[in-house]
Symmetry: D2
Subunit: 338 residues, 4 copies
């Protein structure tokens, strides 16, 4: 029964995917599509004639019948739109990152809590079969202590004008790290370079340190001649490689590592490190569209009062790292406490 009435604000790059999925979900009923660009609205109307198209998002908010709103607009508009939507008593799904600052993100989280509404951030990767499978693997203790989390996301990408490459690309990988890592980040540092006059950083490296031996590192780049989207997670017992571009085997789990022996403590030059090189396996993973899973989860949260996996708090944690990374960038890579 399509009993969750939904409106969407922002029909640009990602919006049509949300529209398609809200339309196909058996619990959500897409009623409104809002965008300032009327051409986009006409294209939507052609495909979904039953949807009300409007350039004024307040129309959605006034309609008491609308239960939830998806916000898929540029990040600098998130705060006002999400705040108004929550104020209008509607649940919210908002594009990542949640808001341009920690302060605004905190306000939104707090407002949603006060109103008792669902605030979900669209960190889509968390709903992919691959990341969920890695989560199970880690939760089952198969990785052992996590040693490092190394992420590379590079491409000849779309230059953004309002945000740098960290805000554009790193939210994906930071949200994955946030989902998979249980430890608390201690500090962050970031370096990068700008290659367009008056532009934003187009290549950047971000390091996050944790209280234990864990180190996380993110390489994001809009100027790479090759496309790489890979995360390597090293653990004491096993290691995982997530290659999002491998059409057949996105996850590979390696029974590889080192083992320490105490036998030779006295022999300074003799190795105390033994290598373990065992099988590799690539588990079959669900290839169900992540956004479909996510919207089912949103519907479940709305109807049953559950907290989304990627709730406002999760979105806030991501923004906290992004904001601190920016601060470090500005201070030439200085370490920023978290």
């Amino acid at each position: 029964m399509k009993d969750i009435k939904v409106g969407i604000i922002g029909c640009g790059y990602w919006g049509p995917n949300l529209i398609r999925n809200f339309n196909e979900n058996y619990q959500t009923d897409l009623r409104y599509a809002c965008d300032l660009n009327t051409e986009r609205l006409e294209r939507i109307k052609l495909r979904y004639p039953h949807v009300h198209a409007t350039t004024d998002y307040k129309e959605l908010l006034k309609d008491k019948g609308v239960d939830a709103v998806a916000v898929a607009t540029p990040v600098f508009t998130h705060y006002n739109l999400v705040r108004d939507t929550l104020d209008a008593g509607k649940h919210v799904l908002v594009e990542k990152p949640l808001a341009p600052t920690v302060r605004e993100s905190e306000k939104l989280v707090s407002l949603a809590r006060k109103k008792g509404l669902v605030l979900m951030v669209d960190h889509t990767f968390i709903y992919t079969g691959a990341i969920r499978r890695i989560k199970e693997f880690i939760s089952a203790g198969e990785l052992g202590e996590m040693y490092y989390f190394d992420s590379v996301r590079v491409n000849l990408g779309l230059f953004q004008h309002d945000v740098n490459v960290i805000w554009d690309l790193a939210p994906h990988d930071i949200s994955i790290m946030d989902f998979l890592v249980n430890e608390k980040a201690v500090d962050i540092s970031a370096t990068g370079a700008v290659h367009t006059p008056g532009g934003m950083e187009d290549v950047a490296y971000v390091t996050v340190r944790f209280s234990g031996g864990l180190i996380a590192h993110f390489h994001v780049n809009w100027m790479s001649p090759v496309k790489i989207r890979r995360i390597i997670i090293g653990g004491a017992r096993k290691m995982v490689v997530f290659d999002d571009l491998d059409p057949a085997e996105k996850i590979k789990i390696y029974d590889k590592g080192i083992e320490l022996s105490n036998a030779n403590k006295n022999s300074v030059y003799q190795s105390m490190v033994q290598y373990r090189i065992g099988d590799m396996y690539a588990p079959a993973i669900s290839n169900k569209e992540a956004l479909k899973v996510e919207i089912e989860h949103l519907a479940d949260c709305i109807k049953n009062g559950k907290t989304p996996v990627t709730d406002g708090e999760a979105g806030l944690r991501v923004v906290r790292l992004l904001e601190a990374a920016d601060k470090s960038l500005k201070r030439g890579g200085a370490k920023i406490k978290l």
Copy 2:
């Protein structure tokens, strides 16, 4: 005519490759092999019965007939061995890195200069067909302004006991950067993590900043389940990927990049960045063994009074970055002026 008499000190991991190449070079005549380990010496004797095997390196130094000595011992022994060899009036080829400190490296460079002897550091990659081809490409101006130099060298590697992963792996990539980049490095920072009790950093990230927009980054790791040896160089006109593990196409040159237009200065949100996606080509490169090329170059330098491409100065520049990286590591990633 094999008229350069050579002795080698250190017959461990890399020594046998030097021995084989000195033996086969038509100008060098391998006379001595020295190692503290007599088993190793016996294996050498079996293969090269004409070579004098000794556990005492002073034997080589005393022999007036010996013109040049190759030092392939652990790095902490380099300073004394190279100094003694130069003092004995012999040319030196020494394993990378030149010495464990800048101070010692400077002394060796100065001593060699004073004595008028060749001091060459075995930065082997500089003599590969691949790196020489990239050098030609850059020198011809085809890359344009260099935007970034991104290097990854990771593997489930041999843990070292006397040096960390930066000193073990990064000299390769830093020497390549030193060879290819004309600009002057301004500062360096490094972070890493230790996962063995009382051990050395086994994963590390190093960033080098230059006076212009160029940024260099090095990822070295002894604990990776997959082996990656790749350098990506982004330029204003073209981009290069050097994948040392690709048996067929080690170098790929991409006619890709961005082009800036000034047409839309007023339109804040409209893109001024155009993408250029052209052909890729992989030039045929010489697959002559790098060490063979290097020893021919050494012989040429000795006989004709030339300065090696990887002379003591080049070796010193690499040690300067390594030492600064260590300092940054110890200060939690602080930026170290160069």
Copy 3:
């Protein structure tokens, strides 16, 4: 101006792609969609409310306003549908293969010629940027004499019930060969195996011999654990690899080959073959959707009386090879004259 009125018969697997492209082409006006399955028609109606949906294809044929019909139904229905459409005086685009037999194909070709109508077969690959680029390369004489054409198209594929794996997969590669090779095929042989009770061949190997030294070979397989779609073309001057699954570099051109020397005629055991190993390059290719190119070409042929690149004759040549391959299969791999 959308002045070519089009109807489509068959809205199953491939039909929706035709519909989308006819809808978007600026010269074609999609008027009818026909299918026996009413559910499919409803889905079409939802997306394209202006299209007349019908289960009776004769409705299209009766409408004098319809200029062209696309037939995207199972192959065993092609003959009747195409014949009726031509008889009704309408141009035809028909799915590959043209018809289940040479005899029927010939009749259709002859009927189209008699009626002066365009008969085009949807050999889509011919309209990809990759294949058109290879065609240019060969036409410019850069390949030299063609030595072999080796095609592999394997996957854990969709088992078909009415045709074997040759009829299902090989039309793609045979049409590519037909487009790229100028020489005349002399004979064909095929072997295969059946692994389902009462089923069709699910793995097969087809060899085509030409009058000169050229040999062509096709490996098609519905039971492969890995997906491979690759054609290697060896020539006297250069060689080409077309890897349809490589998202970045679909075509690679190798300056590799052998060179014959006459110098050593007397020395029986000495090689007279020299290898040439030069650069590889991967030209940038258009990534315009092949079907879009194809429908623009169809419109051009209809309006300007041109002959399609993949006309009935081309479709007939493909069917001729398929039918002969089947004959060879039945005779245990015997050579069939063409």
Copy 4:
């Protein structure tokens, strides 16, 4: 104890590998190296000064102290050399293929049996960790009924002058098939093409049919711009890919396949085939040098009267297929009964 005295005839391309391994094996004592080319002998002497070098193979045969002889000469010389060696009462390890004809191979097998001597053929692949692992996998019933065996071995290879590409490259893959397949081959056919005046086939395709549904196919090519060495084995339960060029994961085992359901017998057009797509895994395999394993096995057979895995019978089975393939080639691809 090095108590098996060995002589080697033929010190060309492969000989030095045999020499090195005989030298290092703790049971074999390399005494003689024989070659018509004295330069080669000098190189051997330099490395192995204790070995008697000779241009006359009869010297070895006369020496009563010699227990076993390795023959690594061109194939056309095998028959005479192996026969003489067996006649002299010595065990034999001979390069693949055993002999140029079935008739000669049979004579050698028969002679060895009569003399009670070990006759082993150097089908090296059988002793690799990869092939032994696949054998275990098949023997354990994990593959299920074997459906197809598809082999590709192509490269810009060394043109041979005395044998065609089938005799040069296919013995590897045919011996692997012989080792892994339990069923009996029924017939064979082969096609190929010649691209050098007066030369041998440089590209060829060989099909072997078995009594059940199994089909085997071999693609061998000296003129490929890319190097491929891959065997795909499809089974009813699982499938295996052996990629000899993958440095990390030579074997991949796929839990993929089809399952037949009888539920829909009446529905002609409805699928009765279900797909099963499960995990892939790449078992860790021994990377011990195959030749080392092989020579240990040879020593074991000689000392303990065992029959080698790749004995004369196995070598004969390979020659039988090669000879039949040649016959088919000459008859234009006609099917040859086995």
